[in-house]
Amino acid sequence: MKPPPFGYHAPRTLGEALDVLAGTGEHGKVLAGGQSLIPLMNMRLAAPAHLVDINRLGGLAAVETGPDGVRVGALARHAQVERSAGAAAVQPLLRQALRLVAHPVIRNRGTAVGSLVHADPAAELPAVLALLGGSVRLARRGGTRDVAAGEFFTGPLESALRPGELAVSAFFPALPARSGTAFREVSRRHGDYALAGVAALVRLDGDLRVAEARAACVSAGPVPVVVDVTAACGAAPAGAADWEAAARAVRERIEPEDDIHATAHYRRHLTGVLAAQALREAARAAVEDAAGNAGNAGNAGNAGNTAGRAMGHGAGDAAENTAGRAMGRGAGDVVGRDGGTAGQEGAHG
């Protein structure tokens, strides 16, 4: 279990990194946290001729939160994003999901962006990005493009990243007003990749009826499977929505497979169970969110310090930034933007 020989590059600037990647092309691989890549190399299942270690590009470690969402830099570790109160306030699903990723030691090294690029259909973050309609920003020598989640995950362990490209950041849109999220999964052991898992988002209208309900499923197909269950659960008040019908809709859409840990049949059943649980929990959170926003605006500051879901949605915050959030949301909203400028790179490099 020793890797075959490889060339090692440790660029100190983003430009240098992109030059090396351009030079090595399909023979080059980015090394971020190494939590997926190094085991593959040790087992000689991956044999890149060149490793481009980005760990010295400190500028890529930022987690930037704004009213429209969270932008996570390529060197931000799972643990860093998990602990970011700002990120949790803008999009609580991030923390909810990251707590389920592996173990603390792995979260201390592994990166959120690395997890997206690795594109394991059993991983949590790809499902989160897909559910929220986020995007990944890819840089190459002389250009940058943003790829929407819907187009980014192309197959098991396959993404839209092309040779020569570096994923510099990922963008997770903010939680819309009167909304809640939840992540439920079952893994064989604590911290293992999930046998099945569901990320859910529920948005309520002004009358606190379900306006939008979606679930993203892990280990349910070659890529994260997002199912819109708004119609299935009926435009009912959050407490009376038919989450079992939603679960049935999820079960019909997914394509889980047999493996040595579980049958496809069990996974399908389990995904439905988890979908109902996650949607119900997300709806509860949405009701609380709505109540919090309608209620005491003075609590906004304190809310951000409370661990758990639905933090920091003070009334004023939501009211002022509705437009901004809307811009960042939805898979359709973010299209590929080829030919980004050096200025954009500079902002993240």
Binding site: M1, K2, P3, P4, P5, P39, M43, R44, V186, R188, R189, H190, G191, D192, L195, I260, H261, A262, T263, H265, Y266, R267, H269, L270, V273, L274
Partner: protein, 800 residues
Amino acid sequence: MTTRLFGEAVQRREDPRLLTGQGRYLDDLGAGALAAAFVRSPHAHAAVRDVDVSDALDVDGLVAIYTWEDLPERLAQPLPLLIPHPALTHGRTARPLARDRVRHVGEPVVMVVARDRYLAEDACALIRVDYEPLPAVVGAEEAVRGERLVHDDVPGNVGAHLVQSVPSAGGRGAAEEIAAAPHRLEFRLDIERSASMPLEGRGVYARWDADDASLRVYSSTQTSTSVRMALAAKLGLPLPKVEVIAPDVGGGFGVKIMHPWPEEVLVPWAAMLLGHEVKWTEDRREHFTASAHERAQVHSVRVGFDDDGRVLGLDVTILHDHGAYTPYGIIVPIITSTQLPGPYRLGAYRVEFSSVYTNTVQVTPYRGAGRPQAVFCMERTMDRIAAHLGLDRTAVRAANLIQPDEFPYDQGLTFQDGRPLIYDSGDYPESLRLLKELIGWDSFAAEQERAAAGGRRLGIGIGCYVEGTGVGPYEGGHVQITSDGRVHVSTGLTSQGQGHETAFAQIAATELGVPLERVSVVTGDTRRFGYAVGTFASRAAVMSGNAIALACRKVREKALRIAADALEADPGDLEITDGLVHVAGVPGASVPLATVAVLANPLRYAFDDEAARATQFAGASPPDRPPVAEGEEPGLEGRGYYSPIRSTFASGMHAAIVETDPLTAEIRILRYAVVHDCGNLVNPMIVEGQIHGGVAQGVGGALYERMVYDEHGQLLNASFMDFLMPYATEVPHVETAHLQTPSPLNPLGIKGAGEAGVIPVSAVIASAVEDAEGIPITKMPISPSELFDLRRAAGDPRAS
């Protein structure tokens, strides 16, 4: 001041070293050694037609490549079959490197030696072996059909077949008793493969000293003395020119009692040829595919019983999957066969096993060694009987238990050591009473009902076992007190982290009356002690513990004799406290053991103050007698061997409460209780640690671990990613209660404790899950996905 340390919860003395990274494990040694790596078969079954090494020759740093053809005569032969048995009519072992056939994925074909392990693996990757794949035999049931053969000369793939029967008191056989019984049941029980999985894999590091023509080998082994003998034989060296040392060993659990492993002879051989140190450290993938597994067995049970659930006749047929070879004989199915009756007085018993070859990794004992399967069989049977009769499960057990006044109790079988299986002592009814109290057995039904009202499914389970421990033939101890007052204890038996340095020191300190800090213990170093068997079969405390005690008694007697001379007292009036020999009840009249050690050696150069001081006690040696009297030896030391007439039988009972999720089918252990009887406890904290670790492994076997082979004999989960050992998060808190029924067989009255924790866990969890679900559980391990399937088959509306 008391120096009685035996029985106290002394902190483990090895832990500061082992827990702070100061341990010296195999791979911590030999920084300058060349590295060995192996080309291993990617096929479960294939003919080896050719090995082409030409591409590998260009690898920078390559030192040597060896194939079977390079091996000298003694090494080219199949490795020894360690434990032959008349029933093992077709024993087969592998050659260190494959000659013309490979019989499991992972079998070594080529050895490469290079400057470091990276380069060695690079060279391995460039060696081309021309294989002709052959159909693989996977699973005992396919093997026994005999359509394809693992070994061409083993018809039907059957390596061994053994029947043992014990008639009832009325002289009838099991079949007759079952036929005549008021109630009869018949069913099948399955257990899957798991493995020892020590966190440190195997490893060998060899140094050949050309000037001295001697070989020193460090091996991560459970038996350094036997590895030494194997090496001397296989390498044609005089025994005194070979020394083998087991350094700190990061767990063994059975897999390291197998010896010599191919690598264990090849690495020293290469070191001799190359005149350079060579080391090989097994990696995890190698450990999965090239060491040993255990547990897989299929059991067909027929039982006849009366209205109280008393077993009148039991007939068990076992199909044992032995993997590709039988280097360790058929110990595992023999133990299953003979330990199956457990704490019960059965009417008539008949057990038969067939041990079959498959194209998978060989089977050698793993902690518990066939007992988890035996207990699963017996305890599932008890539960079946209870269910059939509508009786409480503990009542059925109570009706069958051997009573305290029936010891010694002869089960009428022949145990693994070839001796009669006679239980020496125990109190099983008391054990059951304690367990029921500890877990709250009698109040559980109400708890279960309350939980059910809230939509929760709880279940309680129980499992009982008797474990033969401390098998012979012998173990030895050597004790020396030096003139600085230190006590040096050594035993040839090795350690793998169990706490021997502490437990053996407690025994020596108690026997000699010295403070614990003065005692040091060395294990598994053939430079210090040449005769030993090894650490396995819960035998270290029983065997080496008693041997050390006997050695200490010899030393003590000699010390008292010498001190009596010095103090002009009668040895019978002397005692030793805190390292001082003194006349009982007479303060002041004393001599330190350090001084006695000086007096014990007539060559009294005054190298230290102690020796100088000793002269005041030294009377002139009588001129008419030699300074060392006939039959005496200089020095204050002694050697003792303990060789038991037969094994001593520990016992225990476990219970668990589990919760199964009605929707997700997840299984959670809410409580786990253990009542354990290993006779006199040397150190209760160490015993509890052994139990906790054992239960953790048992939980692995019950709920997580399996070796998943596909039909081509590929192991699909050969990594810790997919072979699911439980983490701390999956292991429940273990509640323990001890019962101490001393063994009448050995001086210290102790029984073994090393394997106890793991033995009944699968039985207990199966019992509890069955109770929660109301569905018969006949196969272990059980996963949520499998529980879901069982629910579906049983028509559970929520499992659709």
